[in-house]
Symmetry: C2
Subunit: 324 residues, 2 copies
């Protein structure tokens, strides 16, 4: 028996607000309700009122914890007992590892050999078995397939999964309940779990326009929304290591219907946004987390005088290798 | 007329708890009530329950704001109108500059030529006139004397001043009201404003043992408490740029009577403590702020199972020049 309190039902379609509320209640014992923080000086500099949902203070330092838990809680006891697995060089791997630890079941994380040492140490620190592979998608998927053959563990996809999307949506639900009357909600987008989940909540729950924020060097989501067809990053070049992946198909379907726009911004502006938050707010955020703020800095006029909500997605990065 | 709401009475003796309460009310409109934060993982690692009063989130990024305001609010309108001055390479200079800005009066900050550019920019950013001097105490004091001759501005001492001590004490008052039943309160010590103020509050208000935390490379306060005579740092060598100064005489009188012990710790452990807070808590603290945590890491047995309060004194440092 796992240490789980409740098994969640499986979702066969995009989550509704009710599904997300149920999942929020189920994951609540395992996660932090993160604070909404503000900075007078950043508001003064940018001429708008910004509210930051600080998921960098979430367990494992990123919102990914929510989706991994949400997916794991839908598994049967028999499935859970064999453990959970994923391939990841980043926050999702840590989230799956920590989820397994909290539920008292095994975790097998396939990591590319060139993952940063600090992330390897962190993943092992949560008690996961780390298996290394060559740093390409085929080797990563083969690594997970081998884990599944050997152990019967269940694969938890980082984003292309309704349960994961619903889990990430709980961050927006907490945020919008605490911070009403936003004009805009800005969310970073890569695989699209956080953006799709947030968009479902925002459309049902508020009048805020919902905008994805993406580095111009990995702009598949912006191109997909424009063309109406799921596009890919060919050679993503961005400092945002969390945003180099491709938009998921399930995520895209939700985003097409619920997201108002996706704006892109240069790495230079992303680094400037990161420096602003570190210096003015004294909180540690990773490059991927500040893309929404960079979008505002890049297009101040649009946001002038508005109430804007931003999700600071995470705070995990190599402190020995900062971009400023 | 300055923008001040209330003139505080002058203190002729160490502040009482009532004085500190009055000053807290007077400075409240100008400062942030900073949060008390915790970290499950640091508690698990160190085997005690730690509460951090996050003065790194204070205006100007450090508790120094409290003392500068407290001192400025005791000045007459005529005194205030001529402005306030100090010499500082660090947080106190920024605090005096910001205080003057908030009260609508001039500030003249004498800074050593070799101050870090980021601190010069920050001080100017608060609207102060910055005057440069050679980096030694005689030149700094001569610079302030010249400002006073020219402008009639009032000097605000960084620590050897009852009003400053009472202002810093308000951090401990907020902290202990919110976090009762502490076994220990640990506070960094240099000039001794924060430690002396905190000790007055803690002795009147709680049963916590009050302990100063000092880098071994600048241990004048520890030596002074041991010998009973005010000792000096000859050649302070520590990464904690905020803690290289000497204990003040007024501060020492209060500390002798109210502080239970002063513990010292190596720079290596201070850097380790800083890394622990940055990585686990995702908040930016300067080296001086983590000396209390380093003291706990250095003497885990003493604090095992205890409820310990720590004041994170500030978060200002050069992000281009980190010690890890």
């Amino acid at each position: 028996m796992s240490g789980r309190k409740e098994k969640l039902p499986k979702l066969k379609a995009p989550p509704s607000l009710d599904d997300i509320r149920r999942i929020r209640a189920a994951i609540a014992p395992y996660i932090h309700k993160t604070p909404v923080i503000t900075s007078d000086s950043i508001n003064r500099i940018l001429g708008c009122e910004i509210f930051f949902k600080a998921e960098n203070f979430q367990r494992i330092g990123a919102f990914k914890m929510r989706g991994a838990l949400s997916a794991a809680l839908t598994l049967t006891e028999e499935e859970l007992s064999k453990g959970i697995t994923t391939h990841s060089s980043g926050n999702h791997g840590q989230a799956v590892a920590k989820t397994a630890y909290l539920l008292g079941v095994p975790a097998y994380i396939v990591m590319p050999r060139n993952s940063t040492p600090i992330k390897i140490v962190a993943t092992k620190g949560y008690g996961a078995e780390v298996r290394f592979c060559e740093p390409n998608i085929e080797a990563r998927e083969a690594g997970v397939a081998e884990v599944i053959r050997e152990t019967g563990a269940v694969n938890i996809h980082p984003y292309n999964d309704y349960h994961v999307i619903a889990g990430q949506a709980t961050a927006a639900l907490e945020f919008l309940e605490e911070t009403p009357d936003l004009d805009y909600l800005l969310v970073p987008v890569s695989g699209g779990g956080l953006l799709a989940g947030s968009a479902i909540v925002a459309k049902e729950f508020s009048n805020a326009l919902i905008i994805g924020a993406e580095p111009s060097g990995a702009d598949d989501a912006a191109r997909s929304l424009k063309s109406g067809v799921l596009e890919k990053n060919i050679e993503p070049i961005t400092i945002c290591d969390g945003l180099r992946g491709n938009l998921g198909s399930k995520n895209f379907e939700i985003i097409k219907e619920n997201v108002d726009d996706i704006l892109t911004v240069s790495d230079d502006m992303i680094i400037e946004a990161m420096s602003l938050i570190w210096n003015r707010m004294k909180v540690i955020v990773e490059p991927s987390a500040v893309v929404p703020l960079a979008v505002i800095m890049n297009d101040r006029k649009r946001f002038q005088g508005k109430r804007v909500g931003l999700i600071l997605s995470g705070g995990n990065l190599d402190l020995k290798n900062l971009p400023f």
